[in-house]
Amino acid sequence: MDRILPFFVIIPVFSAVSTLLVSRWERRKFPRIWSILTVSSLLVLLYFIWDKGVLVHEMGGWKAPFGVVLVKDSLTRFMLLIINGVALITLLYSYSYILKREDYLRFFSLFLLMLAGMNGVVLTGDLFNLFIFLEIASIASYVLVGYDIGAEELEAAFKYLIMGVLASMCILIGIAIVYSVTGSVNMADVARFIETNDIVDNKAILMATGLFILGFGLKAGFVPFHAWLPDAHPSAPAPISAMLSGVLIKSLGIYPLIRIFYNVIPMSPVVSNIFIFLGSISMIVGALMGSGQIDIKRLFAFHSVSQMGYIIVGVGLGTPLGLIGALFHLLNHSVFKSLLFLSSGAIQSSTGTRNMKKLGGLRESMPVTSGSAVVGALSISGVPPFNGFWSKLIIILAAFQVKNIWAASALILTAFLTLMCFVKFQRHAIFGEASEIVKRSKEAPLPMLMSLVILGILCLAIGLFNQTIITNIITPAQEILFDKGAYIMSVLGNVGGG
């Protein structure tokens, strides 16, 4: 059954390369349908291996520490579900959104390569392999940010590229230091070496930890390293900013941090304090800077930074409840943030502007889009029936459980700031009096509406059935992270050290 694991990378790569190869004879419909087919086949594969327990696929037939190994445990399947689910909905959305652009053959090829990179990052159990697939996903996202080659998009893509290369260099030096000290690049082998030789307070490992926090923090975009995010996300085409905010910063930034600091390098109190401190600062700064924005996409981008702060605080708390809250908020944020970005894309494509002041009373001319935007706004600001409320509540409870007053107060302050800011967004954009641009605008085409409605229903459904989702998806992922020995045993079996 572990033969299925490599197909999560093979299928997107094969379809990405073949769309470019057969580009000559059929360009209108072929790439769009082909990419939707590939991503839905990935979801079917995920369904097959969903409850098969921990699967380990040794690449090339070599035993674990000597070859590259793919590991599927409950955290990996949780991330695969988010990545491929949001990607399918985004592809459905861009089925009609992309018609205005001329060279969308390469758009879908790069989109599928980004997806292959993210699947590769989430599946691999090898540090250097994680770096390579992180490079694939990042390079594809640099290009997709600057895809409609206007002046602003290119400038934002260049800034994102520079920050991304800096992050990759820091990660590579961190991997080099870990390899030099522990002698291996396989995550489970490194974890076992650190555990048996007890070199946690080794200065070099401390430096590698700092470099990992810097590198993956740049990719995740929380405060001290968020400079590229408010420029890159608004200037990307809407499906891409939904994928960036919804999935990319999580699977390239948060997931490696969680995997490394729970399964490989034990999380020392210094590291958890750093996470909580950075998380609470990025929450407050993101919400404050977000409230002053006029352009709705920039507003959403700043709130992405602040919601990332929630997840980092949850991860930094280190308690089971905190991690459950962080993972659940990761799922919720990818759903409602991609909903918000996709609806802003629909608004921009029909009214032509993203300026909150100019858009008023969208509910008459674009009822479905504004309806789904309201659902997204309510769930991001944590209004009870929707999914945002439950995950924020769990993180706040976890903060109180650990009696970390500073984090708890920052959490509550940000929840209030987000609520206020999104009420302002709804008042201006959705419920104000209809401006003349909005009167002329017509509803978005069907595929876009379908994806918006699906995401809206998901927001509500996760909110209502949060208990069942937590018990059978989130808690197993959290147990895997807290049980390092099981991870090492499942990957390495009991093969002796080299």
């Binding site: 001329e102 490079e135 594809a140 600057g146």
Partner: protein, 187 residues
């Protein structure tokens, strides 16, 4: 003992070369000095017992020089004179770099001593490469057999960056109508 001295010398040359690159005014000479640093690096790889990497570094260095010169050839390649406010940012960055270097000095103390790699995993490659894979160039066997998945990812990285560079370099709609050369672009 003299290889250590030689490596120190080469590294000092590389540091001097990169300082010249950063501080020189003319862009073209900056590109040339980066090329020089790259070629010294390739010689260093030779002394560190990595012929594969030295060959690849030399050839890749030639190609990146071609690309970099392409970016600086027919544009105004004189550096921008620093305005006042940016001096302040230089100084803070220098302080920040100094702090990191001090911490790096402490951290590198506890790395395994230079010249004694732990080679816990790579002993297996040395022992089994010829018998199991039949290749006497161990590095090639690692790249294409033991960790072939890395090279597969590597191909994808190159394929994405070139396909992406093409997506960026394509003639957008906004360029076509004002394409002053009046060339009949038969698209």
């Amino acid at each position: 003992m003299n290889t250590i001295l030689l490596l120190h010398l080469l590294l000092v040359f590389m540091v001097i070369g990169s300082i010249i690159t950063v501080e020189i005014k003319n862009m073209l000479s900056a590109v040339i000095s980066v090329g020089a640093v790259g070629f010294i690096l390739s010689v260093t790889f030779l002394f560190l017992g990595a012929p594969d990497i030295a060959i690849t570094q030399v050839i890749v260095e030639i190609l990146s020089l071609i690309l970099l010169i392409r970016a600086t050839i027919n544009v105004d390649n004189v550096a921008i004179e620093e305005k006042g406010e940016s001096i302040f940012s230089n100084r803070t960055t220098l302080i920040f770099v100094g702090i990191i270097l001090v911490f790096a000095w402490i951290a590198f103390q506890s790395l395994p001593a230079f010249g004694e790699p732990s080679m816990r995993i790579s002993r297996y490659y040395l022992l089994n490469a010829y018998s199991k894979v039949g290749a006497s160039n161990i590095v090639a066997s690692i790249i294409l057999d033991f960790r072939a998945y890395d090279t597969f990812g590597e191909l994808l990285v190159l394929f994405t960056s070139i396909s992406g560079a093409f997506a960026v370099l394509r003639r957008g709609k906004i360029d076509k109508h004002k394409d002053h050369l009046k060339i009949d672009l038969e698209t």
